[in-house]
């Protein structure tokens, strides 16, 4: 989904630029441009992927739940952003469509957590991360920063005027 640019609003006689804050739900993706803010909450084992072009000042945020879409082809059609293998290419293409250029893109990954213990079945987060790395490698795209794994629940906040990406875990905030 393409966002409209931030609009100017008249507020008590003054013109104020109001950033458009968009929430990215689980299994969804949003793109936007300078002035927009993209947020996604409660990343557990899901992948949160940020793609940003600092020259065109456009970017997007994906919140994908599962590694491979082959487990449910119907959902892969109706909800492609639910899956890393479908959502990641679509995120890049959407950013290109807004004027982003591949060689300028800054890519950051977060989420991909796992519960405690050794039960491999529940390491969906690790599998999400592996599929992402494979896709990026295949397409010659570097991953510039990451904060992945562990048991934390993460919230991601991306300011598309600068690409500044903040990860919040409990009360702590850190820049990615």
């Amino acid at each position: 989904m393409i966002l409209r640019p931030a609009r100017e609003r008249v507020w008590r006689g003054r013109v104020k630029v109001q950033p458009m804050k968009q929430i990215v739900a689980v299994g969804d993706m949003k793109v936007g441009r300078d002035g927009d803010i993209l947020v996604t909450h409660a990343l557990g084992s899901c992948l949160g992927l940020v793609v940003y072009d600092p020259v065109a000042k456009v970017g997007g945020l994906l919140h994908a739940m599962l590694p491979l879409s082959r487990i449910n082809l119907q959902k892969a059609e109706s909800h492609p952003y639910m899956f890393v293998d479908r959502g990641v290419p679509l995120l890049f293409k959407a950013v290109y469509q807004m004027g982003g250029q591949k060689q300028r893109l800054i890519v950051k990954a977060t989420g991909c957590g796992s519960p405690l213990g050794k039960n491999a079945m529940f390491k969906i987060g690790e599998r999400n991360y592996k599929v992402l790395r494979k896709l990026l490698e295949k397409n010659n795209v570097a991953l510039h920063a990451e904060d992945v794994g562990g048991t934390d629940s993460r919230t991601v906040h991306v300011d598309l005027s600068s690409g500044k990406t903040i990860i919040r875990i409990k009360e702590k905030r850190k820049e990615l």
């Binding site: 409660a42 449910n72 639910m82 405690l116 039960n119 079945m121 529940f122």
Partner: protein, 288 residues
Amino acid sequence: MKRPSEEDIISRIDAFPNIPSAAAKILSLLDDPDTSAEQIGEILRYDPGLTANLLKLTNSSYFGLPSKVGSVNQALVLLGWKKLAQLILSACTTAVMAKPVPGYDLQPGELWRHSIAVSVVAEGLSRELGVTGVDEIFTAALLHDVGKLVLGDFIRDNTSSIDDESLREVSFEKVEQRLFGIDHAEIGARILSNWSFPETIITAVRWHHDPDAADPPNNLIDVVHIANVLCLMIGIGIGREGLQYTPSEAATRRLGLKGEQLEIVAAQAMGWVEELSESFSVHFEEEF
């Protein structure tokens, strides 16, 4: 902040609000397969809001009934008494589960959404695995975290102990036990026991983080345990403790669960949650 004694917590369990009288009456009829529509009608007669909620719930696209249900009698015929009783109990307890939960950092409505999600995922896993004889799974899953409503206040007052680095690799229910002498699962079981819920549901709530400790373990507990971890992983009701829980390998073996089945159910979870939650009338306390 002074750490509370187990007695402090137990006194809060005993002071926890009772369930609506309609739910208590439904519970007393639960084991009677001959319960009539008249008996149910008599219980619901004095609570028109509950009847309306029950019919809305019954008609939600999640249950996929072929025709619109307009009366309790019809609901009884289409669903059978066991299922209908579970839905009445669900409708009765929604208001309790919709409260915000401090400490675990769950916003208003988030515990409720998690409860709904674990219910539909538990049912989905049961179908996927062909597990039968788990009629109470919906209610058990819906109420599995009721204990968080009591323990949340104590967690909030002790966050620095809770967040101690040395506890990061310890399953969170064990952290609760170390700090408070009791965990939210045991607290939930005691609340349901005070409410006179059936033992199957109480046991499932008690062991939902430690299904191997149940004597003996059973499918219902195992499925609720796995559904809970899965819902946290996909971010529904994931709180301060994140994914700091340990899925039981023995439970997955007992159920014969495969990784692919877990992902098949996960892919459908959001859709089921939407289908069911649209039919619940819940007013969340807004933050200001």
